[in-house]
């Protein structure tokens, strides 16, 4: 038996532990919210905020674990056929209550016949991350849409906030390669984007690879995140 332990392994096992604790915390809070809901108490909304923070932490940990696995070449992609409308609906179920608590409306738009071939867990991780962020940045509306474009399946999350800061814009027309320094100033460590970038690139079909784009809407100025899958 190997007795030496690698620091990154220790980190990973601590992450698992932390994630489990968060799970317990999240569920306890579910209980409290449920009871609170029954009694119509005022703290209701604050609890949702707590839950939001827990979710954020949880997503960060999932991403870290995925990146750790990727580093160790253990992150494998498990692609399958999925109904896009079901995927979007699932995202709504995940986030609707939380966004509603801040008065944000979450809508979806896609052809019900649309399907795609991708790793559901990884793509869900990407969408969760972006939608969860809109909790902070959106004013009233978040829309998740999906469609086909130039042979790619595009999944897009748009909000009506003030948009991404110029330093974060990331367009398919420029360099499709993640080379940004981690920027602690903006409050976004770049980890989420790096994860999205990596997940997109892991999706390959024939000669084509997936990619992401981060832009602001020309008219409204709101943030537009898109992931393109071949």
């Amino acid at each position: 038996m190997e007795s030496k332990m690698n620091f990154s392994d220790i980190l990973a096992s601590t992450l698992h532990d932390t994630k489990n604790s968060l799970g317990v915390l999240f569920n306890n809070l579910e209980d409290i919210i449920a009871r609170c809901h029954d009694k119509n108490c005022a703290e209701h909304v604050e609890f949702y905020h707590l839950q939001y923070e827990i979710k954020r932490l949880n997503h960060s940990l999932i991403r870290l674990l995925s990146l750790y696995k990727a580093e160790k070449s253990q992150l494998t992609i498990n692609i399958d056929y999925h109904s896009i409308r079901d995927v979007l609906e699932e995202a709504v179920v995940q986030h609707d209550m939380l966004l509603k608590s801040r008065g944000i409306k979450l809508t979806t738009r896609c052809d019900p016949e649309l399907f795609g071939v991708f790793d559901l867990n990884l793509i869900m991780g990407v969408l969760d991350n972006i939608i969860n962020n809109s909790f902070r940045y959106a004013k009233e509306n978040v829309e998740i849409s999906a469609f086909k474009e130039n042979g790619y399946l595009v999944m897009r999350v748009e909000d009506d906030g003030t948009g991404y800061p110029a330093a974060m814009l990331f367009n398919k027309d420029t360099i499709p390669e993640f080379n940004r320094e981690i920027d602690f100033e903006t409050g976004n460590t770049g980890l989420g984007l790096y994860f999205s970038f990596m997940v997109a690139a892991m999706h390959k079909n024939k000669e084509k690879s997936g990619f992401i784009s981060i832009t602001n809407d020309e008219k409204s100025g709101g943030g537009v995140f898109s992931i393109y899958l071949p």
Binding site: N20, V24, N78, V93, V117
Partner: protein, 548 residues
């Protein structure tokens, strides 16, 4: 499917639910969530064992089971046992709750799959949606399931295609099912083409496994080998790819490689009792007793929590320990077997047979004779057919105790029943080798084989001469004497069907043909003539109600 129907259709109120988790806290949360869906009847269990006890006395509609339940049975073992013992059926919903993404860990490794996975933590809305989706899916799949129960494969495929046409919902499940039905139906070429079409959109792993399987069934071992190796290169945790690779290596007469492949598989995923047994058997015949010992030991250990345990795990270990000069330990293991399988005549018979072998090897003649007498008594009282495995062990025990005639007589019968089953013949050869009569044994095998080949040829000649009625009588008699012989039964089915094709259907003959056909499929589901036989049968029985 429209959005409205989704909201109205499903009512959870009357559902009976079981929550399985080792954490009190989590059980409580789950129960609160379920109550908020107006579900009244909720039971819980904190261990896999408790879950099985509860499942055995009440029929649950929904089971939410944690994957990691601490020591004892795992969530996967609860699922396996519940399905194996038919505590849950097609309409029950089993959701596996996992701490993180364990799906890939379990994927392809499991004999049975849950309806869905749910990653902790989750909000109640997610749980509710998941349950409702599964209920809806089962409703949608109901007709397909009915056709499958009736063995009406063409109808099942038509229904699958109709659902795919309707909406992309459950597309993956429907395609997976269609592929499996094509394989079941014996349409291996069509299955292979179908899977290849699925793969145009990307490397979907179940479709890759599907093409591998179809090629294997078609006897294209090299192609199948490449496919499975490629799957493993991309993801070394797809355990079923190893199982197929090992099977292919055996077919290609390369048991050493088969062993290496399974050793790699068990090092990645040691918790798989059937694979451990398989590895143990292959290592034993490769005379790698140290590997055989550790595999059988872990099979015995895992059997304590598994419905796949069997007395042969213990007897195989005991035999291996003899080879490892640890006969005393072998006797202890046989004692454990009796404790692990109380009131089980199969276990007692197998243990007595093995005991006489172990004692003989220890030069304890008196005890050996006693055990053998016990074994013969048990065999006489035994209800139903005794497995070939036990019979072979019995033959071996006879031979090493000096009763060569009795031993070889049993072996001759085994060879007659399995004259073209290379794997079984290799097992027989192994027994002859171990008992120091390899050359003589080879002669016995070839005499018994030739006897059956000649018997079969005579029947085939009758058929070829157009004496079909005589051929039928001939093969039916032979099949009655050799119910385990694949070729004889296949030919019995075939002559009956050809006769009916020429002379019209006859109810009794149809029933008999089906019996022989079923025997062949049971003996070897990969037999190359199965598609031919099935298509002959389909011509006679247009695919409705043939399952009855």
């Amino acid at each position: 499917m429209s959005a409205e129907s989704q909201k109205t259709a499903v009512n959870l109120k009357m559902k009976i639910v079981l929550v399985v988790d080792d954490f009190f806290n989590f059980r409580l949360t789950m129960k609160n969530m379920l109550r908020s869906f107006a579900i009244n009847y909720i039971d819980d269990a904190s261990t896999g064992e408790e879950a099985i006890r509860k499942l055995s006395v009440r029929k649950y509609d929904i089971i939410l089971c944690d994957y990691n339940l601490g020591p004892g049975k795992s969530g996967q073992q609860v699922l396996e046992e519940a399905k194996f013992r038919e505590y849950i059926n097609y309409s029950s919903i089993f959701i596996m709750v996992t701490a993180e993404n364990t799906r890939e860990m379990i994927m392809g490794a499991a004999e049975y799959e849950p309806d869905d996975y749910l990653m902790k933590p989750f909000a109640k809305e997610v749980l509710e949606k998941k349950i409702k989706n599964i209920i809806e899916k089962k409703e949608n799949f109901k007709e397909i399931d009915k056709s499958l129960i009736n063995h009406d494969y063409s109808q099942a495929i038509t229904l699958c295609e109709a659902l795919m046409e309707k909406s992309p919902r459950n597309l993956s499940e429907l395609m997976k099912l269609k592929g499996e039905i094509l394989i079941k139906k014996g349409s291996y070429q069509e299955a292979s083409e179908f899977y290849n079409k699925v793969l145009v959109m990307g490397d979907v792993v179940w479709a890759e496994l599907g093409t591998g399987k179809a090629n294997f069934m078609l006897g294209k071992y090299e192609e199948a080998k490449n496919i499975f190796e490629n799957v493993i290169t991309k993801n070394d945790k797809i355990m079923s790819a190893y199982d197929y690779l090992a099977k292919i290596m055996i077919k290609l007469n390369n048991p050493k490689d088969a062993q290496q492949i399974l050793m790699k598989a068990t090092s990645i995923s040691p918790k798989a009792i059937l694979r451990q047994k398989n590895l143990g058997n292959i290592a034993y015949s490769n005379e790698d007793y140290s590997v055989a010992e550790s595999s059988f030991k872990s099979a015995v250990e895992q059997g304590k929590n598994s419905c796949f345990k069997s007395p042969s795990d213990y007897t195989s270990l005991a035999k291996t320990l003899v080879q490892r000069d640890a006969s005393e330990e072998g006797l202890d293991i046989l004692n454990d077997a009796i404790k692990a399988f109380p009131n089980n005549s199969d276990a007692r018979l197998h243990v007595s047979v093995t005991e006489s072998y172990v004692y003989t090897k220890m030069n304890k003649t008196e005890e050996a004779v006693k055990s053998m007498a016990e074994a013969q008594k048990l065999a006489k009282e035994f209800e139903g057919p005794i497995s070939t495995e036990i019979m072979l062990d019995l033959a071996k025990a006879h031979i090493i105790m000096g009763d060569e005639d009795k031993g070889t007589e049993i072996i001759k019968n085994i060879v007659r029943g399995n004259h073209d089953n290379d794997e079984m013949l290799d097992n027989v050869r192994l027994v002859f080798k171990e008992t120091g009569m390899a050359a003589k044994g080879e002669n016995i095998i070839s005499v018994a084989r030739e006897e059956i080949i000649k018997l079969n040829d005579e029947g085939v000649n009758l058929a070829q001469e157009g004496k079909l009625a005589e051929a039928i009588a001939y093969f039916e008699k032979a099949a009655a004497q050799l119910p385990d012989n694949k070729i004889i039964n296949a030919n019995a089915a075939q002559v009956l069907m050809i006769y009916m094709k020429q002379n019209g259907k006859n109810e009794q003959q149809l029933i008999n043909a089906k019996i022989y056909l079923d025997r062949v499929r049971k003996i070897d589901e990969t037999y190359v003539d199965i598609p031919l036989l099935l298509s002959l049968y389909r011509e006679l029985v247009p695919e409705v109600n043939d399952g009855k």
